[in-house]
Amino acid sequence: MTLWWAIAAVCAGCYVLKLAGLAAPRRVLDHPRVRRFAELVPVALLAALIAVQMFTEHGELHFDPARAAGLGAAVVALLLRAPFLVILATAATVTALVRVFIG
């Protein structure tokens, strides 16, 4: 599968998922299992994405001190209730600075 096919699949799939919700019969939402699953799945996936992007490289476990420092800085920014873009800018800046000093 080429990258363009993956992009087309994601674009089409994301749209169908959105439309399915607007068009589905009302009672589907009343099922508590469905609600619970919807609440939980993004939490597990997002946490897994953070871990994989932080601590793996080319399919192997790998610790990058600069990136770890950047994420640590993002945690501090989150604790200080910084705006969304400030959080991202903090993470990038700290990562870049640590990379300059450690090499």
Binding site: L3, A6, V10, A91
Partner: protein
Amino acid sequence: MGQTTHRSAAIRDGLGVGLAVGLSGLAFGAAAITAGLGVAQACVLSLLAFTGASQFALAGAVGAGGDLVAAAAGALLLGGRNTLYGLRLADLLRVRGPRRLLAAQGVIDETTAVTLAQPSPEAARTAFVTTFTSLYVTWNLTTLAGALGTSFLGDPGMLGLDAVGPATFLAILWPRLAGSAQLRWLAVAGAAVALCATPFFPPGVPVLLSAVVVLAVLVR
């Protein structure tokens, strides 16, 4: 408050969230180019997929050199929450036919949050349209700007842009974790499953496996 006041408050909320969150398209544009996508590919995702977490997930998995089927599946699993938002919004928006096809594209985290926060159905519809429009326009313009800017920069790692993806996910996740010990446990378990699976599976698959933890919580 009268109906007009409700609606102007809804417009203010919608524009505020749309413009502020839309700016993070800069981060997506940058992350996409860093991951090896082209400028056109980044822009097509923002125009047609238009759901941030899925877009970042696809770019991240591609950047990790992952299997594309697993990368796309991970992005779609994340997009599944928009289905539940749609279920919630259907009663409020009451759209049919071509307008429903158009409105569907706008069913995402931010529009749902602003729409459900309104005091009346009229204000909710106004909020949905305002948030969707301002966010869609801003997100797409900033995606283009971020992608073009980054492709001129050379090595994005020198600017620390590889930390932007994880920081974005953390910022999306943070409010949910703050409110619930069970969700914090789930997040840690999901991350642990993905890391343990990494040496044994092609990139992209470990992230999908973390969904198994959800089943464990549901069955319990």
